[in-house]
Symmetry: C2
């Protein structure tokens, strides 16, 4: 059974949710697969807008359910429901635009003698398996971008709910499935074993995952055992992943003398406890950064740890490092931490200092000369984002060139959180930020993960999809005889 | 050592080629990686056209080298050199068009407050590893589409040459590398161990492979052991793969009473020996279709086998099944075979009857009613292509709908060979046709395999790539604020 737990008290709330058995997973995937053909020919844009409207109509119930098991608060959670609804609306726009099918027509030529050839994308012939994340109970969970983009592509979806917010998952699921033309188009399964079954189910044609690096590696290993290599789109944690507690900026390099202009800088002088949305989050937070006598020894003041969920710092005899809630009643409360070091020490302590820390912590690295940064940045792992805070672009050029290879999104004088749901978003990046660096889990291009092309050679017009007919009934953008032609939209 | 062998005589010709040691692989990959940054900012379109011109200038020497070790003949081989040159020219066009970077610009908005966001594709930050195929010594080998598309994307390439045509590989490599601005941009390694080293080399960012299903599975398993999951683009054999000997149509369903309109139908009445390009090809041909007393027992007349390279039919006590060359001197000669059966027997003998057969063989399945076909077609594995020969599109609709899920390219009244190098080509398909069904190894879209997107948020214009500046200096097609705008080209 999976319990909904109030992080403010650590107490279980309401009835627990049963784990999904293997037989139930099979039935749910089977029902989703059966709902697929009608969905492919449905007015999916209108259906996605109906889902968006249903989410908004239920925002009150949704945010309260989520707050009870995540403590993320009304403002954040209302915003997240709105964001989830916005994702469904963006994909309705994407479908009406039609560019996602990437229609290409090459008419036959006599000399050289080549046949008529037309290509477009179709939905993957199967079910999309989606693994929800803990940190955004709407935007990266049942109602999140993986669900929205896969449904938009034309694929039925089965979500493995995150154990951290089971009641929110249940409610989101009910709201969405009943807004769809066929409720079987969205299935929900619970528990680790059900997730494993989902990942290897023969009717699952691709898997989307948002979560930790170890979790992503585990699912990738499962998928590698399948007889058929299906795509695995893992958006994994990385040094710049926003935490579930509060924005946790990545390791940051600041010129010596100028204070780092970051939320954590002030948090460092006046720590405010954050609320973690699940017990696993502060546990991994407390294990990282790894113990080291060097850079932060004098800066960080461990103040106790709940031994039940925190194993302490591995390899360290010192006291464990999960601060108690300052209000004394917290179950999953953590205090933001900032670690300050210099470039030479940072370079010497890599990779320990960039190990993923899923909690409110930051490492500030002070440097003297911008020219010293690129060789150290070269040694960083792949990340979802990298930010440069600077006034002179010319001075940042060297670092920018290195970061281009290291991160999927480059930000100038800003913060990585609030991943905008837009056409130009790329939320992915080099391993270990993502298992498929060419793909994004947020924004219009996320639909591409669930599409595959087909080419039609000398195919009769009666059997061609409308998107590929010469008269272009849907008025979509197409590349015709090598030239991109804008759509009528 | 790898020997160049004349398939007409079975004799080794010329000096053998040394295997590449691990240290040499490392040096070759290292040199390729070092050549990368300059290549990214080079005029790659002009360089690819120079390669095309160099291939054409050396066509005489190239086709003779290939004929000596493949026996494919002047017409076919001259055509293939032309095709390889054409591939480099197509990618020059692709680069000049600029659509491959998929530039997207979303300007900032005040309400809701969202930042300026711009996205485009960049080359993968590393070396492309390419495994050449045996069956097309130019078009799917050193000078093939994987090399051309990866170089076009901006990636240096290291090719693992196929042992079946070592002299052709060496010559192609020399011609291409010396036409490039830096010869290190194209490396060549030889031997199985060198291939393994290449697949797991930390500087290799993606691998392209054309070859058999077992070979593809072996490389995929190697790549799965890497700490970083790099993309593996395997274009594997499948039921419709054209053979290296002569066009081998896939399992084919024909209405009862109408003779199958195929080259093999006539070959069946008057068999002509084909030449296989390597000893492994007839060996796998002779093992497949598997022995069965049923459909073809009375149709096929085994006429002997060279025991040295053909192990006979596994599990069968009957005589092995590799026909001798009718001219009596053949080393790798094989005779085309056609097996005829009915739909019920075919359905009963799946999957034995659709096992890959890399040689000139076809299975003709006779049926009475087109309505009987779809349920049997549903059971076929994924394939690169599927063809319908028919006069009435309406009658073919049911089969067409099933084949859409089974093949990457659907052909009407034609033949799958002669994969046109065009914008609309898709040469890929559901597993086991390909390990990455969303990608093609032929045609303009093949470049996408070597690209990854980056998003720039509030990025200063001075640091933006020209493709993303508001004034669009290269004049490429872009999506601006949600609307696709054609380029100036």
């Amino acid at each position: 059974m999976i319990h909904s737990i109030d992080p403010r008290t650590g107490e279980s709330v309401g009835d627990p949710f049963p784990l999904t058995s293997d037989d139930e997973v099979d039935a749910i995937v089977g029902a989703a697969l059966a709902a697929g053909p009608a969905w492919r020919s449905a007015d999916r844009a209108a259906a996605l807008e109906a889902v968006a409207a249903a989410l908004e109509a239920n925002v009150e119930e949704l945010w309260r359910a989520a707050d009870a098991e995540t403590a993320l608060g009304e403002t954040r959670l209302r915003g997240e429901v709105g964001r989830a609804a916005g994702q469904f609306r963006l994909f309705a726009q994407v479908l009406r635009d039609g560019g996602h099918v990437e229609a290409v027509i090459d008419h036959a030529t006599a000399q050289p003698p080549v046949p008529d050839l037309r290509r477009m994308n179709h939905p993957l012939p199967g079910v999309a398996g989606v693994f929800a994340a803990s940190n955004f109970p709407f935007a990266f969970s049942v109602a999140g971008g993986d669900t929205a983009s896969a449904l938009a592509a034309g694929c039925p979806v089965v979500v493995k709910a995150h154990d951290g917010h089971p009641a929110t998952s249940e409610l989101s699921w009910q709201v969405i499935r009943h807004a769809l033309p066929d409720p079987d188009l969205l299935g929900l399964v619970r528990g680790l074993d059900a997730g494993k079954r989902l990942a290897v189910h023969p009717s699952v044609a691709a898997v989307g995952f948002t979560g930790s690096i170890p979790g992503g590696k585990a699912i990738q290993a499962l998928i590698a055992e399948r007889p058929d290599p299906i795509p695995f789109y893992g958006e994994l944690g990385a040094a710049s992943t926003p935490s579930s507690c509060c924005p946790r900026p990545p390791a940051r390099a600041s010129p010596r003398g100028s204070p780092p202009r970051s939320p954590s800088a002030s948090a460092s002088s006046a720590p405010t406890p954050g609320w973690c949305s699940s017990p696993t989050t502060p546990s991994s937070w407390c294990r990282s950064p790894r113990p080291s006598p060097r850079p932060w020894a004098g800066r960080c003041s461990p103040s106790g740890c709940r031994a039940a969920t925190c194993a302490g710092w591995p390899g360290s005899a010192s006291s464990p490092h999960w601060p108690k809630d300052s209000r004394g009643r917290g179950a999953f409360a953590v205090t933001p931490q900032v670690f300050v070091t210099d470039l030479a020490t940072f370079a010497a302590d890599l990779p320990d200092l960039v190990e993923e820390c899923f909690g409110p912590a930051a490492v500030v690295v002070v440097y003297d000369d911008p020219a010293d940064l690129p060789p150290v940045l070269e040694r960083l792992d792949g990340s979802l984002t990298a930010t440069i805070h600077a006034t002179d672009p010319a001075e940042a050029r060297g670092s920018a060139e290195v970061l281009l290879k290291k991160a999927g999104r480059l930000i100038w004088n800003g913060w990585p959180t609030g991943v905008a749901v837009r056409w130009a978003m790329h939320h992915g990046g080099p391993w270990p930020a993502s298992t498929a660096a060419a793909h994004t889990s947020v924004g219009a291009a996320a639909i591409r993960r669930w599409l595959v092309p087909t080419a039609y050679q000398d195919w009769p017009a009666e059997l061609l999809p409308p998107e590929l007919r010469d008269d272009n009934p849907p008025g979509i953008p197409r590349r015709v005889d090598g030239v991109l032609v804008a759509g009528r939209a």
